[in-house]
């Protein structure tokens, strides 16, 4: 984590949804921030609330059934969770751009790629149609789409998955946003194309100095891209720290568990993978205690009864786990602990 002031600061965000089965508490008080030029990785399993968190910041949660029950998301001095569109100019889509997991379904199949990109510029920046289309071609070129002028006139079905994701990026950066939010941007792509897209995002970040919030379930992508990492589980941030904290000084049993469940790329290594048994808790009735305790190999009595507060291992590294309470009787193996004088 850096000392520069954060561009976006999300504090204690909670989101729930009304469903026929009851109220799902999808996000249960999450805080994170991102500074200019930095990459924040949000990692977690499907259903842990990582997409819902950023979608609520972007105002993409349908309300109802969705509801933001608490929290603030401060950007440029205003709270994104309460501010509405003013004078046709909205921060979302202009100062904060977003790309989605599935580029095939996120684009309008009946509009040419160029006009879709141009639309953003007409709405947010007041370009004329002609100016906007010319700029769209430049943007496609910037995202390294060959023959951009020809491609801009084509429709989504004429693009491959990797190309569509580039077009999505071109659209998201059209208004030169300060923050780019990428929700599983490479999950639907092959590793070779994934490498191209990740390189592209990193180059654009270097050129423009924008901040990047990268949501993924792939720890490899996190290791490659992120400066800071939030590990989410059952709607909460269970561990947060620098990328090195998360990988080399893991302090939450869930983070440890994720790493033990993946093969390490060491020659001749065929040690047995350690799966995380069980499944995430039911968020209709979130447990009173720690959300992970039912699957946790080092859970204690207290874990069932009370949800741990974040325990700070260093200024910017915390884990929501009772194992880090100073009066813990038996310490579990492998977790990175607070030193005595912290």
């Amino acid at each position: 984590m850096t000392d520069s002031t954060p561009l976006l600061e999300v504090n204690n965000l909670a989101v729930e949804f009304d469903t026929y089965g009851g109220i799902v508490k999808a996000v249960r008080g999450i805080s994170f921030s991102v500074a200019a030029g930095k990459t924040l990785g949000i990692v977690g399993e499907s259903g842990c609330g990582k997409s819902v968190s950023v979608q609520s910041i972007m105002g993409l949660i349908p309300m109802p059934p969705g509801r933001i029950t608490s929290g603030t998301a401060m950007f440029a001095g205003q709270d994104l969770l309460v501010s509405k569109m003013r004078n046709g100019h909205d921060i979302r889509g202009a100062d904060i751009g977003m790309i989605f997991q599935d580029p095939m379904t996120s684009l309008n199949p009946t509009m040419s790629i160029g006009s879709q990109i141009a639309e953003t510029l007409e709405v947010h920046r007041g370009y004329t149609a002609k100016q906007a289309f010319a700029r769209a071609i430049e943007l496609l070129d910037q995202t390294r789409i060959p023959e951009a002028a020809k491609r801009a006139r084509q429709y989504p079905f004429e693009f491959s998955g990797g190309m569509l994701q580039r077009a999505m990026i071109a659209m998201a950066i059209a208004c030169e946003p300060e923050i780019l939010i990428a929700d599983e941007p490479t999950t639907a792509l092959d590793v070779t194309i994934q490498a191209q897209i990740l390189d592209l995002m990193r180059d654009l970040q270097r050129e423009t100095g924008m901040a990047l919030i990268l949501i993924t379930h792939d720890l490899g992508v996190i290791a490659r891209m992120a400066d800071d990492v939030v590990v989410m589980y059952a709607g909460q941030a269970v561990e947060k720290g620098s990328v090195d904290d998360i990988f080399y000084r893991s302090a939450h049993p869930y983070t440890m568990g994720l790493r033990a469940a993946m093969p390490t790329n060491t020659r001749g290594d065929h040690h047995k993978l350690t799966p995380i048994d069980g499944s995430p808790p039911d968020l209709f009735h979130p447990p009173a205690g720690c959300g992970y305790c039912a699957r946790c190999p080092s859970s204690m009595n207290i874990c069932v009864r009370a949800n741990p507060e974040p325990f700070h291992l260093s200024e910017h590294h915390f884990a929501r786990c009772w194992q880090h309470h100073p009066e813990i009787p038996v310490k579990a193996d492998g977790l990175h602990y607070l030193t005595g004088n912290d």
Partner: protein, 321 residues
């Protein structure tokens, strides 16, 4: 001895009179008894088609598959499936669409026994119950429907369905791609245990290179319908020879920030070309950083690199000619 031999197998899909998709083009491969062969490649490289053609789920356009010395028919008829279903089975990629939502789990898993053995109702139910336990589910899950299960549990149902006839050879088509990391390990460990206890031979198709290296004894890399490199998994992964394999391994992000920071950008240029009317020469030539004159003209055959690694390694590349 090889349990299964694939010789010059091809599968083309006709689009119209003049165009056809070369999904699998002249692939030769042999799989030894109790061996796990991993098959990797980008989407569209023909991995799944190869697996399905080997099992007779697609008619063969050319070439042959020999199972225990017996030549399998080019075109399966119902009687052929009846005969071979007991030996060869398949686990499918998508645990959501590969289970019939209108059948109970008991019916799904027991269907093989009902069709291919003389077993009666109670006997089938007993065996299904045993298998549910074996894959880590409960016997009373038998009367439930697929929608009541999570992705990982469904994939276990798929595993039980494929293995209840105790086949010798199983094609696992991306069995873990749709699952979360924590659940992937459950399914991989389950396959590993069953392999040890039943003496299974597996063709493990996946695009996750780290997982394939971990799971399989040998690894084959496919590109645009052909196998371009094959060898002992660790050798192929840690010392790739074909330029494409090198790029593939270099693109695979590892969960280790230090490695990732030190890694030079190896992003490949361009995308996999269309498998319709494949041009002459090496299929990878137009994306290859080490392309030579000959690559445009002559298709490289798999050649044995005798000196490398701990086992036989074959590469289809003119660099090694």
């Amino acid at each position: 001895m090889a349990l299964l031999q694939v010789r010059h197998l091809s599968k083309f899909f006709n689009i119209d009179r003049n165009h056809r998709v070369h999904a699998v083009d002249d692939v030769s491969l042999s799989i030894a008894e109790r061996e796990i062969v991993g098959l990797v490649g980008e989407s569209g490289s023909g991995k799944s088609t190869l697996g399905k053609t080997m099992l007779g789920l697609h008619h063969k356009s050319a070439g042959e598959v020999i199972y225990k010395g017996e030549l399998l028919p080019a075109k399966y008829h119902p009687a052929d499936f009846q005969r071979h279903a007991k030996n060869m089975q398949m686990i499918f990629q998508d645990p959501y669409s590969s289970l019939n939502p209108r059948m109970t789990v008991g019916e799904i898993i027991g269907e093989g026994l009902r069709l291919h053995t003389n077993k009666k109702g109670t006997e089938i139910r007993e065996q299904v119950a045993r298998w549910l336990k074996r894959v880590g589910l409960e016997p009373d899950h038998m009367s439930r429907y697929p929608h009541e299960f999570s992705g990982g549990q469904r994939q276990r149902i798929g595993v039980a369905r494929a293995l209840i006839l105790e086949p010798e050879f199983v094609v696992c088509d991306e069995p873990i791609s749709a699952l979360d990391v924590s659940v992937q390990a459950q399914v991989v460990n389950l396959l590993d245990e069953l392999k040890a206890s039943m003496g299974l031979t597996l063709l493990f198709i996946a695009h996750d290179l780290s997982m394939v290296r971990y799971v399989s004894d040998r690894m084959a890399v496919m590109y645009l319908g052909s196998v371009i490199e094959i060898g002992v998994s660790d050798d192929v992964f840690f010392n790739p020879k074909h330029p494409y394999t090198q790029i593939l391994v270099g693109s695979n992000p590892e969960p280790d920030p230090q490695t990732e920071r030190a890694r030079p950008s190896t992003a490949i240029k361009g995308e996999i070309p269309s498998p319709v009317n494949v041009p002459a020469g090496c299929r990878f030539a137009n994306r290859c950083p080490q392309m030579m004159e000959v690559c445009r003209v002559e298709t490289p055959a798999l050649i044995d690199l005798k000196e490398v690694g701990s086992g036989k390694r074959e590469v289809a590349c003119h660099l090694y000619n």
